[in-house]
Amino acid sequence: MRTLVAHAAALLLLFPALLAALDPKGVRTFTLANGMKVIVEEDHDIPNVAMYLFYQVGSRNERPGITGISHFFEHMMFNGAKKYGPKQFDVEMEKAGGSNNAYTARDVTVYTDWFPRTALRLMFDMEADRIQYLSFDPKIIESERGVVASERLTRTDNNNFGLIYEQLNAAAYTAHPYGWPVVGWPSDIQAWSMEDLKAHFKMGYAPNNCLMVVVGDVSFDEVQKLAKEFMEPIPRQQPPPAVRTVEPPQLGERRVSVVKRSELPYQLVSWHVPKASHADIPALQVLSAVLSEGRSSRLYSRMVDREQLALSASAEVEQQLDPGQFLAYVRPRAGVDTAKTEKVLFEEIERVRTAEIRADELRKAKNQLLTQFYRQMKTISGRANQLGTAEIFLGSYEQMYGTPSRFEAVTAADVLRVAKQYLGPNQRTVATLIPEAAK
């Protein structure tokens, strides 16, 4: 504990504005009798509100045959309930000056509402209506199936990155649900039955499986009052069953390729890493910054700049409820053999596994991660997303404010240790998109 406190004190000297700008005391929470937790941050800069609803259901809670069904609900939730019929959620919201979106991930389905403060009551009314009384009209389901099929065509089947990323995951995970795509396999998209849909909705959409985050031009008291009025009467349900499957350790390199008409190749490599809340994640984030954040990073300076092998080269750590991956993305230059880009990438990975990074690289990575963190805090929607993500993936929204000190505590020895432990050649999966010459 001693080092952590010392680092936190050093941070205060360096960044006195940190406390003023990002004070967890500005955030308050409450939990309704039905188990729904609500996080509220008042921010009166602009007359708008970001309301995020995190349902803890995603492709992780699916099984073969119904893959993509969580994502399908992300669409169906806009297709009518009891008080607000088909289209009415969007019609009423836009008429009131609001807009919305939603995203589905492996672990969560998140509904993101942005609206002027005057629409707060309407939003509670409409969100409560669809959690409780979503309608299942067969005609609308068929039409929405077409929309999702189009989304898959555009984002995966006709998109080089989408295609190769899907193949990478299918190879990297042999047992765990993270191996299938969030959007679902094409045959499953065509096959969900009414029974599948009703069962999945009942499993995922309950107040006790939902976290609400409200940031913006609101008062804590009015949010609490509205939540009690609209959300509290909704009965709790059995939460989704635990995901029992644990991905077995990978014992050797896996390779997968896609041959496709294309101008440029694409290459993705992944290694298995622990879940988001694991103590090694900050060190892995520092490592990914050293490898690829900015043009002085190791991968960019060598592969993109000095050796002119790639148009881009980057690294990223997934943060998920179950163990995710450390990913490297390389877009080789035209005419460059992917065997060559791969060799250079692996040399750079071996370097971080055999020697500590330099002190100036460590300092630089921490500065970069700190400014990145601030960038995410600029908007009410950014903060709503970060607060909810911290609550679900790190166990508490307050962990969000500890982000800078978690980075600050990472040492060069930590980075070397995690690189050695997780980025071994036997633990990697290599996926390559190989351009097929036009006939």
């Binding site: 800069d45 602009i46 007359p47 289209k87 199936r145 189009s150 440029l264 043009r295």
Partner: protein, 469 residues
């Protein structure tokens, strides 16, 4: 003393305090900022915003891609990238090293109307960050080896754009719609990038990076007095040079309906764009047209998205987009659908356009669009320092004034149903249409013959983005 410092005071956003009221904020205003013209002609805007401890700056040079010589499309892009690749004081590596050590951001690029640098630093690093930015703007050395690298990377990026069907369709469409004699009709491609030399870049820099052609906006957690002094010294030292004269050209106007197909035989999805003449950025119809276009294709419940996505499930998204520059832009219907439903989706889009033209919109649609635009505007445009510097530079770039923000809501309110329907008659379906489709041509091009007697076909494997009718 030639510096005319004008302090523009205002209240910040005025939010409606009526509890659970039915209206969004009655109006918005730009937060307080100062604007001054430096002796070298540069315009400097400074806006303090206490939030996170960051300072954002945008440096905009008028011109951008439209200033590319006709035979060298891409020169503005290459120049924007090359300024950070070695200066009088720093090599490209040193520049990157110093920038990254500060945790700073430095993005430079060109669009049709401007070449811009967007940078961001921790507040405490303003002086160090500014030193980097000024070094890139004032002293680029353009080392031959670095220029070669930049050019080669742009050549590959241009080829790689064809791996992204939606982006590629946009480039072909620009070339087809405006044509090669128009300053907007020459998207850079692998052939034009390959022609660019160090001398072209150095000459372009000398011509464009001039005080008289420069707009600076800085916002964030800054002390106005200290920061302004630093900024005046830094940007005031840029050579005055000559102001950029905007290009003139007759409005792009199709003489008859035109249809082109970019053939990508392996595609299982078709991207399609249908364009018609729009307006320039300063046109008096811009607010009514924005209100109307929002109803037709600018939001989720828009006429296009409602029919093509929600009712028929033909696509994941359909929209109508307006682009506005110094010269008139386009109003473009954009969507995509699986190969087999290409003809059907295009027909639906055209019938919606016809219905809009014939029937106009209702009072209810108009009221909803107005509320939507006013409700979403603050978070879309006025929340962060990045958004605010973008607005400030846009105001200068198009010779507008702060009424663009401060009077926006009253201008929206002033759009009557008659005015909206008059604008629809004037712009939607009134001129000849230009169609561009990208997909597996042989599967659907017979269905397009009914729209135009000649369907121009371009193989995607041909170099560049030219569409020669």
């Amino acid at each position: 003393m030639k510096i005319a410092a004008l302090v523009l005071m205002s209240a910040t956003l005025l939010s409606s305090q009526t509890a659970a009221g039915q209206t969004v904020s009655p109006h918005v205003k730009l937060p307080p900022y100062t604007r001054q013209v430096l002796p070298n002609g540069a315009v400097l805007n400074v806006m303090p915003r206490k939030d996170v401890p960051l300072i954002t700056m945008s440096i905009v040079f008028k011109g951008g891609a439209e200033a590319d010589p006709a035979e060298l499309p891409g020169l503005a892009n290459v120049t924007a990238e090359a300024i950070r690749r070695g200066t009088a004081k720093r090599t490209a590596e040193q520049f990157a090293q110093e920038l990254d050590s500060l945790g700073g951001a430095f993005e430079s690029g060109a669009d049709l109307q401007s070449l811009r640098v967007d940078a961001e630093f921790l507040s405490k690093d303003l002086a160090a960050g500014l030193d980097l930015v000024m070094d890139a703007i004032r002293n680029p050395a353009f080392p031959e080896a670095e220029i070669k690298k930049v050019v080669a990377q742009h050549v590959d990026s241009a080829k790689g754009a064809k791996d992204n069907p939606s982006a590629a369709a946009g480039l072909y469409f620009r070339s087809f719609y405006y044509g090669p004699s128009h300053p907007y009709g020459r998207p850079a491609d692998e052939l034009s990038y390959a022609r660019i030399t160090r001398k072209d870049v150095a000459d372009f820099h000398k011509r464009m990076f001039a005080g008289r052609n420069m707009i600076v906006a800085v916002a964030g957690d800054l002390d106005p007095a200290t920061a302004t002094k630093l900024l005046v010294d830094a940007f005031g030292a840029v050579r005055a040079g000559e102001a950029y004269p905007w290009k003139q050209a007759p409005a792009a106007q199709a003489k008859a309906t035109r249809v082109a197909v970019v053939d990508k035989p392996d595609a299982t999805e078709t991207q399609f764009l249908i364009g018609q003449p729009g307006i320039e950025r300063t046109h008096p119809d811009r607010v009514p047209l924005w209100v109307v276009n929002t109803i037709f294709g600018g939001r989720f419940t828009s006429i296009l998205n409602d029919e093509l996505r929600v009712n028929t499930g033909l696509t994941y998204g359909a929209s109508s987009r307006m682009d506005q520059f110094h010269l008139p832009g386009r109003i473009t219907i954009a969507s995509f659908t699986r190969t087999e439903t290409t003809g059907k989706a295009v027909d639906v889009a055209l019938s919606l356009l016809r219905t809009l033209r014939e029937k106009g919109i209702s009072a209810e649609q108009l009221a909803s669009s107005k509320q939507y635009l006013k409700g979403t505007y603050p978070a879309d445009r006025l929340e962060t320092p990045d958004q605010l510097v973008e607005i400030l530079t846009e105001i200068e770039l198009f010779d507008l004034n702060r009424g663009e923000v401060d009077d926006l809501f009253s201008r929206i309110d002033a759009v009557t149903l008659d005015k909206a329907n008059e604008v629809i008659k004037k712009y939607y379906g009134s001129g000849n249409l230009t169609f561009l489709l990208l997909g597996n041509a042989s599967a659907f091009d017979a269905e397009l013959k009914k729209h135009a007697p000649v369907v121009t076909r371009v193989p995607i494997s041909d170099p560049g983005f030219r569409v020669a009718p």
